[in-house]
Amino acid sequence: MPVPPLDGDLATVRRSLWPLMRVIVDTVLRGEVEGEPDPVLVDDTTRLLSEKLVAMPRYLGIGMVGATWTFNQWAISTAGRPFDRLPPEGRRLALARWQTSRFGLMRSFTDFYGKMGIFLYYSLLEERGVHP
């Protein structure tokens, strides 16, 4: 999966995290939007989310990077493989586990990708004059 040219603050971290972030965004969008999400919109939503990662207070941004990595590895304990190597249904279940967790930090993580990802996705659609 090609990584787009990301520059500015935390560029190296964002580039290394890009493939995983994109898989998470793709999983979120498959659960929320009609049909197959447009890969260009998935790319753009991921890029905007990675910019949010830089824009948020640094102590939160570092936490979110760590949580993204942890989320990927967590799936090994529940599904035997990291999140990014799971089939689509496995990814959906892994995400749902965190969404409904009793731990606030896990839900905050899925809120970032879920709520913010959805907001950005529909903002992009609106900008492009596309309606669901």
């Binding site: 824009a55 948020m56 640094r58 102590y59 409904t100 606030g104 709520k115 950005l120 903002s123 669901p132």
Partner: protein, 478 residues
């Protein structure tokens, strides 16, 4: 390091800073305004859009106040501050609120009658208007619901100006600070340095003598030193205490953050109600003020999708007919006291706000009343505010929300933050005196939302402007 000099340094360009700068410059003082964010026009991005969030919101809108339930708050970070991004709703607080502040915080010369003159002047100088052309479809629902329940509801005036165009159409424009007081300050000679963050104030005994700052231009950072006779800190209720504390000034600073917690719900109607072309709806239910305010939020497709995300199975069907959905809110006058603290090694301060049991009860009451309102207005269902809970489809189901809002499972936001440097003569609780001068210092003043002693119970921009006007006029002995 480059050194700049001025008579009055104003840190921050929101309503408090812009008022201070305009009055000082017009009084012949050499004024330098320093603003951390960029200098952008009001039209640089559509209101409430993702582009506006990226350009004008601090941290792109991702700023939390931590507590058992985290609260997402929004701050402007651009020339004009919060006035560039808020709904610009204008209220005068209740006279009883001002009386209470005067008594409890021992504020000199702070009678409601004395402040009336300031509010009158603010209305004339900045410009306040109601919306021509009747209520938008979303507000029509709010009004219909209130009428059915026998509650008072009304349109809230805004900092707005309408002008008739050549074709006869009335076109409105927000009277933000970049459209009102900042141009006035500049016309009187004030200089403005945008994209410049003040790191700290340099102190010498009971005075501040200079500020160190970092100016960003074309991707390059330059350190500067600014020498002044007087400094007025007006960087908002979070950044003002953060700067003062970075400068070693901590007494009663950043210990008493107050805010208006707000809960939003998405509501589905059998017909179209969302029409973002109207802008933000401006009607509110008056019945439960100042403790509780009910109103409508901006309801574009992205915002509706945001409030539906993860909430309902039928969301795809709902989003196909998104104009049948609208976002409503319940906002309360919070009773907790939060704090603002700097974290070693980090640029952004840590903000904490504990939602008290009383806050949670009042939020529950607010959601209950909101449910009554929208069902009386013909709603089919109310989605939220408890994450993962099924939508409410009948008023009889509202009771469970009234007493059962769980910490950590509701989305709470705010754009109204204040009281981190409360004013008054009571030394146990006030950081600044009755006119904004820091206790124990001769030339450091605070003139923004930080000095409000407590919650005004209404959108605070009018109160901030009126108090800033009063305090700067005192500073100038006018």
């Amino acid at each position: 390091m480059k050194t700049l000099r001025c008579d009055v340094l104003v840190i921050g360009s929101g309503p408090g800073g812009a008022t201070t700068a305009a009055w000082c410059a017009e009084a012949g003082r050499d004024v330098l305004i320093v603003e951390e964010g960029p200098d952008l026009s009001i039209d640089s991005a559509p209101s409430y859009s993702m582009a506006e969030m990226a350009q004008k919101y601090r941290n792109s809108g991702l700023t939390p106040a931590f507590g058992k339930t985290n609260i997402t708050y929004i701050e402007g970070r651009c020339v004009g501050g919060g006035s560039e991004i808020n709904a610009a709703l204008y209220h005068r607080p209740l006279a009883s609120t001002l009386d209470d502040w005067q008594r409890r915080y021992q504020i000199d010369g702070f009678s409601p009658a004395a402040l009336d003159d300031e509010f009158d002047a603010v209305e004339a100088e900045v410009g306040v208007a109601t919306q021509p052309g009747g209520p938008d479809p979303q507000s029509e629902r709010l009004i219909a619901g209130a009428q059915a329940l026998g509650w008072r509801a009304k349109e809230i005036a805004r900092f707005w100006k309408y002008e008739r165009q050549n074709d006869g159409a009335l076109v409105g424009r927000r009277r933000s600070m970049t459209e009102s007081l900042i141009p006035r300050a500049r016309a009187a000679g004030a200089r403005l340095l945008a994209d410049t963050r003040v790191s700290a104030l340099e102190l010498d005994g009971d005075r501040a003598v200079a500020a160190t700052a970092v100016c960003q231009s074309d991707g390059k950072k330059e350190k500067i030193r600014i020498e002044f006779s007087e400094v007025v800190v007006a960087a908002g209720a979070v950044q003002t205490p953060a700067l003062l504390r970075r400068s070693g000034l901590t007494a009663r600073i950043g210990d008493s953050l107050q805010l208006h917690p707000m809960i939003r719900v998405a509501v589905r109607f059998p017909h179209k109600v969302a029409d973002p072309s109207w802008g933000v709806p401006v009607h509110q239910v008056e019945e439960f003020k100042p403790q509780l305010t009910l109103g409508c939020s901006h309801s574009s497709l992205p915002h509706i999708a945001l409030w539906l995300a993860g909430e309902v199975r039928e969301k795809r069907e709902h989003l196909r007919r998104w104009e049948h959905l609208a976002v409503f809110y319940a906002a309360i006058a919070g009773s907790g006291l939060g704090s603002v603290r700097n974290l070693p090694g980090f640029r952004e301060p840590l903000v904490r706000y504990p939602l008290t049991d009383a806050d949670m009860a009042l939020l529950g009451e607010g959601v209950y009343r909101l449910g009554q309102l929208v069902f009386a207005a013909g709603a089919l269902e109310m989605i939220g505010p408890i994450e993962g809970a099924p939508p409410v489809t009948h008023p009889g189901e509202l009771g469970r929300l009234r007493t059962g809002l769980p910490h950590g499972r509701i989305n709470v936001t705010t754009i109204h933050l204040f009281s981190t440097c409360p004013m008054g003569e009571d030394p146990r609780r006030c950081a600044v005196d009755s006119f904004g001068r820091l206790h124990g210092y001769t030339n450091i003043r605070v003139n923004d939302a930080s000095v409000l002693p407590a919650s005004p119970g209404v959108n605070p921009q009018g109160t901030i402007l009126a108090i800033a006007r009063r305090n700067v006029r005192k500073m100038l002995s006018l």
